[in-house]
Symmetry: C2
Subunit: 497 residues, 2 copies
């Protein structure tokens, strides 16, 4: 795999001097077009062997390009805020928006590599972590990011030479750390694990480019030209046509039977029973939230449902039981300007709670496979892939000891009409039924299909959907509270062990 | 000061039951109007004696209002990311946007109070910290925030009763901590310092309201009604007319002599000398950035200047000397949607570097007193007060061991024309002169006046402006590098001591 990067590639000084100025001009031009068009974000990874020139390369790129529109990120110790969240959170928060360039030195590859070389994680663990990385990069690629991954390689001899010569010069001595030499002694093992890693994570959309690191001029020119070519190609490509029409349903049971139809919406809870149950379950939820081990978990609750199904009321019954310091509610309507410049999951990653906290989502990432699908705001391929992306996202939360509870509050069409009519009559502005609500109602069947597909594809053992019969508000609220309590209890049991 | 809050205020259960439902309706209505109009943000502080009911009150408010549009913040230990920045950064990052409500328990008042009671800080230190708080709140009020500060008071006897009764009940025992009893023993001292604090920080725009905490019904109703009344008043007030026209200059020397005119723009540096100096100062800057003590300081560099004065080129000469991992460049054009819903300084607080790092600002908070003033984007009063706000902001940075270096790159009108013309000829898109650039040029004198006022009012000993004669790019770049080096060197000297 590294054969071509040990051939002793070299670029003469004169060639370099001749080629750099036009390359720089072209790069700046391309970067300007990128910035103006905001067509896509660019993610440049510079990884590779120790002292292979990662830092220098990134510095040169910052010099050639306009550094005002680049953010460079190096691996540093995790901050407390990052430790409190799933591992990929730290990367989501540093993603460049469309139009900008993010450069990552080492990046998400460094840790798994070093951990495996030093046998802190098994090969199976390594594969699992690489799998996570692949999915992460895949989402970003699917969302339009241009991914460029450079691996700077040095042969064993070259690396030794480099370390020695850096160490000799008092100006560069600081660059060589003890761990560099320690790593060097494990050159073969690094070589072997790197190869495995590069092989596993070279995908069609984000392949690795291995660059011989010996000659700086060769390294800079190769990388600079690759960036230019990729940028230019993508900038000049015609925009794919945007799908605006509603797309056909993803699946359709030929007998017409859908999971939502199996719900018994006539389920009811009498007022007296409701009050008893409410007290019981709110009390229980409150105690659970103050449990000694609650600080080891986090809770994410997703509320989705038909319009007027009673999400707001259900959320309030949950928050009543909790101390306001323990929860945050995130409500979602259309994305803001900053959010539109990022992958669709980005705006939800922003609200992931740290441990010991609740995050209640009033609508959520499922908008992608509900409203965006039905209204045709995104292409068929986009919402189809979203199921997998969402499952993966939730898996990351669950692995980080986050309890993911998801509710679909279901009412029937008749009940909705009744509530719409009632709301029109009360006259409270905040309950006002909008034109949009009526329009959504007309698409009842499309939404139902979307909901059924969503449940089929995203109700997983680790993050199951709870369908809530919500024609009767009392019944619905208690079911919500009870479900949350049971899920938290189970999680606290697991944590204890 | 607390006399009226020891009268034994009480609300009968029947009165409470009658009054709460209409109050809640009216509160929800007001909150809905707030959300729709996005007129202003609301900041509610609930502070006061231990176990005076702060948490319960905030929970009730979250129950009465729609909790989806409230964020509640309690004091918790500072995170690493917060420790790395000036103390108020943590509060700036939690401010509610226009249309929303932020509730703070204890908030920025708790620490100075407790620190002074336990004699960890002197009275003078307390006053200084209160002064900082007043300025912080003042900015937010001036930017339109509705501030409501409630102080929950208990008499000595009442507090003892409360602690004892909470402790008796197994369900509430957890609320009483050792520190509550420890504080109780210092009741008189707390009483005395609280009074001093409340007196000092009750301003016309954000006065304290002292509420007797003994009877929960009295407490909730009083606070609920106050919030409703203030919200309603502010929502229903007619909007003040927006000033759109350019406003008159703030000051004008009667002999017409301005500080910019004293610059000798003919200053030059020959190419050979430039190259030597560039190497020298870039080398020095690089070494300084790797100094052992550099991790104890942070560096903020502001680049302002006439259009085409060479800000970009100067920035590049700085970044060339630095490792890309050490700096971030923040460029500012018009604010994003999220930024427009916040006070104008908010978008700059977002980019304050942590220690050991550079933040280079390509344009900055000075836009307020330059383009916003000249173009009439904000009212006369708004940019006039900005000078003080900016000085205060920079003082906070400096106190946190941040070196603040500010450059005004000055060229004359003739030189600008020459550069505009040259740019039109080169034809690089990224240098293209826009309509706006020509329009700005027509307002040369207004801008010059604004710049002179800015320098007069914001060049302070701790954060001085450096005027850079920039008709000659070589001269300008070296002056920039040299200034940064000297300022960092001085800061490292101070840190050492």
């Amino acid at each position: 795999m590294f054969e071509s990067a040990e051939l002793g590639h070299k670029i003469a000084k004169s060639v370099y001097k001749r080629e750099v100025p036009p390359l720089r001009e072209a790069l700046l031009d391309a970067q300007f077009d990128l910035l103006q068009s905001k067509k896509f974000p660019v993610i440049i990874l510079v990884a590779g062997v120790d002292c292979g020139g990662k830092g220098e390369t990134v510095n040169i790129l910052n010099e050639w390009l306009d550094p005002r529109h680049i953010e460079t990120h190096a691996l540093r110790p995790l901050t407390g805020e990052e430790l409190e969240r799933p591992p990929m959170w730290r990367y989501w928060r540093t993603l460049p928006p469309k139009g900008k360039i993010g450069m990552f030195i080492g990046s998400w590859y460094s840790e798994p590599l070093v951990d495996n070389v030093y046998k802190r994680i098994s090969n199976a663990d390594l594969d699992q972590r690489l799998e996570r990385i692949i999915r992460f990069e895949q989402i970003l690629c699917d969302e339009g990011a241009l991914f460029l991954k450079f691996w700077l390689h040095l042969s064993r001899d070259q690396q030794k030479k480099r370390l020695t010569s850096l160490e000799k010069d008092p100006d560069t001595r600081w660059r060589v750390t003890d761990s560099d030499w320690k790593h060097y002694k494990k050159y073969d093992r690094f070589h072997q694990v790197s190869e495995r890693m590069l092989r596993a994570t070279s995908t069609a959309e984000s392949p690795w480019l291995i660059v011989e690191g010996t000659d700086p001029r060769y390294r800079y020119l190769t990388i600079g030209k690759t960036i230019l070519q990729s940028l230019r190609e993508r900038l000049d490509a015609p925009e794919p046509p945007k799908v605006r029409e509603p797309t056909p349903p993803a699946t359709m049971a030929i007998d017409g039977l859908r999971v939502l139809q199996t719900l018994d919406l006539s389920k009811k809870l009498a007022k007296g029973d409701y009050e008893d149950e409410l007290e019981k379950w709110q009390g229980k939820l409150n105690r659970l939230s103050r449990h000694d081990n609650f600080g080891k978990i986090a809770v994410v609750v997703v509320f989705e449902g038909n319009d007027a199904a009673g999400k707001g009321g259900a959320i309030r019954r949950v928050t009543q039981a909790l101390d306001a310091r323990r929860y945050r509610i995130a409500s979602f309507a259309s994305p803001t300007e900053e959010e539109r410049l990022q992958p669709y999951l980005w705006r939800f990653w922003r609200h992931i709670p740290h441990r010991g906290r609740f995050a209640l989502f009033d609508r959520s990432w499922y908008g992608r496979v509900l409203v965006e699908r039905v209204e045709g705001y995104c292409a068929h391929a986009d919402w189809m892939r979203a199921y997998g992306e969402i499952n993966d996202f939730e898996e990351q939360l669950v692995r980080h000891q986050t309890v993911v509870v998801k509710f679909w509050l279901a009412i029937d069409k008749k009940e909705q009409l009744k509530r719409f009519d009632a709301r029109e009559k009360i006259g409270f502005k905040r309950f006002k039924i909008t034109e949009e609500d009526w329009r959504n109602r007309e698409k009842w069947d499309d939404y139902e299909q979307a909901v059924c597909d969503m449940i089929d594809r995203t109700s997983t053992e680790i993050a199951p959907w709870t369908l809530v019969e919500a024609n009767d508000k009392n019944y619905a609220r208690i079911k919500v509270l009870k479900t949350i309590c049971n899920r938290i209890e189970a999680a606290l049991d697991r944590v204890k062990k």
